[in-house]
Structures are given as C-alpha cells and as structure tokens.
C-alpha cells in the first residue's frame, strides 16, 4: 500500500509545528526523517499513527495500516519474551509468534523475563512486536536510542528484511542504518509564526 501524505499540518501542545508536509512512500521503500531537535518528527509520526488529529491535510493510508513504535517498547519487565510477544500478537489478532522470534534471533531468550534482557535485546523484542502486528507500514521514532553499533546493525538488517518482504518504513533517526533509503528533511516545513488561532483577532 502506498502512503501518500499531502499538505499535512500538525500541532504539539495546541501550537502548529509543521505545515505543508508532503511525501509518498512506496512498498519496499524506507524514508528517513531528518531535522533538528524539536522540529516535530515525533509529532508527525504520532499524527500518522492516528494518535493525534492532523490540523489539515490528507494521509492516504489509515492508521490501521501502521505499526507505531517509539523508544519505549511497551514491554512488561516481569513477563517473559514469549509472553510479551504473544500478548501483542493476540491484541493485534495474529496467532503465530515463532517467525518473529526466529527472525529477530530471540528463540533462545523466549523464556527469559524482559527485565533480564540487555538494551539491544529489548530493542529486538520491540521490533519483533512490529512483526506480530501484521501491519505493512512501520512508523519508528528514534529506534536506535541506547543501542550499540552491533545492535544498530542488527536493527538495520531487520528493517531491510521487512522492506524486502514488501513492507515500508518511516523512520526518524540521525544514524545511517546500512540500507538504501530516501531522506526527508523537515526543516522547510516548520510552521511559520502567524496568527495562531482566533485569539489574535480578539484585539485586531
């Protein structure tokens, strides 16, 4: 499924941060979001995932097509790797988790509680969760935070595998992940300071 975004404007804390954002993401491709801190990468990704309404503009794919992941993985420390994964699979109406465990090299850790995993292993588990959602478009917010170089490489391979399988990925990151990807710099889309809302005109 193509993801086409047209003239999108989104707000953080009631104030517009981005406007006029537009891009197209084809299956099998990845798009890297760049831009300085505070430009609104997280806001854009949350808007696409359906967690907050857009101020204006259109998003061609519904939120149901997207699997959202921020740097918090939604893992429960006292549940095992398998239990964590099985829970999310059931929430998303999927059955098998074997493939996800295998692909992310987690089968040996299946019965270990999530609190005993290293940061890299947790991140892999978080990514395996994306696989059990069964959704085509991955929307990832700073996925490589707190990962060492080896884990970043593993992560990059995982995303590349998803792309080869016909998925797509939208990733906000500063790191090169080791596969070909288009880049989108958000700096030109910074919302211009202007009349914010109708409170300006109260004194016009």
């Amino acid at each position: 499924m193509d993801l086409t975004v047209q003239d999108l404007a989104c707000a953080r804390g009631g104030l517009p941060v981005l406007e006029g954002v537009g891009f197209t993401l084809h299956p099998g491709r990845a798009l890297m979001l760049r831009g300085p801190n505070g430009i609104g990468k997280t806001t854009l990704l949350r808007t696409l995932a359906g967690l907050q309404p857009a101020l204006s503009g259109t998003i061609s794919a519904p939120p149901e097509a997207m699997a959202y992941a921020a740097h918090a993985d939604g893992l429960k420390a006292t549940l095992s790797v398998e239990e964590n994964l099985r829970f999310w699979a059931r929430i998303f109406g999927q059955t098998g988790i074997g493939q996800a465990l295998d692909e992310f090299n987690l089968a040996d850790l299946a019965h270990r509680p999530a609190q005993n995993l290293s940061a890299g292993q947790k991140r892999r588990l978080g990514l395996a969760r994306l696989l059990v959602t069964g959704r085509p478009i991955w929307v990832l917010d700073e996925p490589t935070v707190s990962l060492d170089a080896a884990s970043v490489a593993l992560f990059g391979q995982a995303v590349a595998r998803h792309l080869r399988a016909g998925g797509a990925a939208l990733i906000a990151t500063h790191i090169h992940l080791g596969f070909e990807a288009a880049e989108l710099d958000l700096t030109p889309f910074r919302a211009r300071p202007r009349a914010m809302d109708r409170f300006d005109e109260a004194f016009a």
Binding site: G13, G14, L15, R190, A191, P193, R194, M196, D197, R198, F199, D200, E201, A202, F203, A204
Partner: protein, 242 residues
C-alpha cells in the same frame, strides 16, 4: 445574525466591553436596593427574629451555586460540540465564582443555623449536598490548573463536568435517602411563594436578581481575562518560534 457569532473572541471582547459597565451598574443598584430593603425595611419575622435577614444573602448565593454549575455544564457541552474557545473559557471563568457562591451559602447557612437549630453544622441533606457540590467545584478547578495544554484541559474538564453533573444529581438523591433533615423545604421557589409573606418575598426577588447580575458580570470579566491570557500565551509562543 446568529447567537454563535458572540462565540468569536473578537465579537465577544467588543460586546462584553460595551455591556459590562451597564451590567456592573445594575448589579450595584439592585444589590444596594435589595440588601437595604431586606435588612432595614422589613419587619422581624415572628418565629425567626432578626436572624431571618441573612436569607437575603443565603438564598441567592445557594441559587447561584447551583446555577453556576448548570451554566458550566451548558458551556462545556457547547465546547465539546461546537469547539468555541470562548465557551470553554467561560466555563473555566465561572468555576471559582460558583465555588465562592457555594462557600457563601455554606457559611451563611452555618451562621443562621446556630441560632435556629442550635448547631453550626448538621448532616442535613441540603447542607451535605452543598458540601459535595463544593468538592465537585474543587476537583473541576484543580483539573483545569493541572493540565498545561489549554485545549486538552478544556476537553477533559468538559468530560468531568458532564460526568460530575450526573453524579451530583445522584448524590442529591442518595443524600436525601440517607438522612431526612432539619432544613425547611424550598419555601422560596416560584410556585410556592405563598409560603413566604410578600413583604419578605419582594426584597428577596431583588437580591436574587442582583446575584444573577453579579454572577454574569464576574463571569464576563473573568472570561475577558482568560481570553487575554490566551492571547499572551499565543504571542509568547509566536515569539519563540520566530
């Protein structure tokens, strides 16, 4: 011209600026007339003595304590349905006024209760209901203060106001069931006005009118302040972005 045009901040600021002096003038006039008439120009009631005169503060304040919540409920619904910012801000502006009215009703009630019933406080259904109403106001105001994003705060307080209204009504019924009390019935509602002699009733009507005007004036004034505060926030944010 539609009523909704007054929900436009600009129109609201202009209109409220034009009418506020008149409303304040009428408030002052009716308040002075009502209270002087009530306190000094009515006879002493047979079985109440001069204490009955606190009624001219107690009853209007109690009435406005409830009406303020109803007004907040209506404003909250308007905000949720039509997204008029002024409506949300008016609800926010009304809450502390309603809280103050509730406190006045409770305190004057306690002062009156001591000579009448021999106690400042009794767990009478009406008194208890007002105490619960007081808690509802506190929670509502605290929620407004706690949330930074103004639109989210308006949404959440509106939801709380609607749910709270249902529970407030339910509490009223529950408290009645729990304890039938000392408080005289609603001797002062319109259809029961024969229960109170005209000589007391007319000044009371004036006082009730004065409290309604006072409420309107205060809410308008406070809403104007809220709009200005939002404008300042918008300007600061714009400064930061530029």
């Amino acid at each position: 011209m539609s009523l909704w045009e007054y929900a436009n901040p600009k129109k609201f600021m202009q209109t409220s600026q034009a009418v506020l002096p008149a409303i304040w003038g009428l408030t002052a006039l009716s308040m002075v007339v009502g209270l002087v008439w009530g306190f000094f120009l009515t006879p002493e009631a047979e079985n109440f003595g001069s204490t009955v005169k606190i009624i001219y503060l107690h009853v209007p304040a109690a009435m406005m304590a409830i009406n303020a919540w109803v007004m907040m409920l209506v404003a909250s619904l308007i905000w949720l349905v039509r997204r008029h910012h002024v409506s949300a801000l008016a609800a926010r502006a009304a809450a502390p006024v309603g809280l103050t009215m509730t406190v006045i009703a409770l305190v004057t009630g306690a002062i009156w209760g001591e000579p009448m019933w021999g106690t400042y406080w009794a767990w009478d259904p009406r008194l208890t209901s007002f105490l619960i109403l007081f808690l509802f106001y506190l929670g509502y105001i605290a929620l407004w203060e706690a949330i930074e994003n103004p639109d989210a705060a308006a949404d959440l307080t509106s939801v709380l106001c609607i749910v709270g209204s249902v529970f407030a009504l339910l509490s009223r019924y529950a408290v009645n069931f729990w304890n039938q009390g000392l408080h005289q019935g609603a001797t002062l509602s319109m259809d029961k006005q024969e229960n109170i002699a005209n000589v007391f009733w007319f000044p009371l009507l004036v006082c009730m009118g004065a409290f309604i005007l006072l409420f309107v004036a205060l809410v308008l004034e406070r809403t104007r302040t809220e709009i200005r505060a939002r404008r300042i926030k918008a300007l600061i944010a714009r400064e930061r972005m530029a």
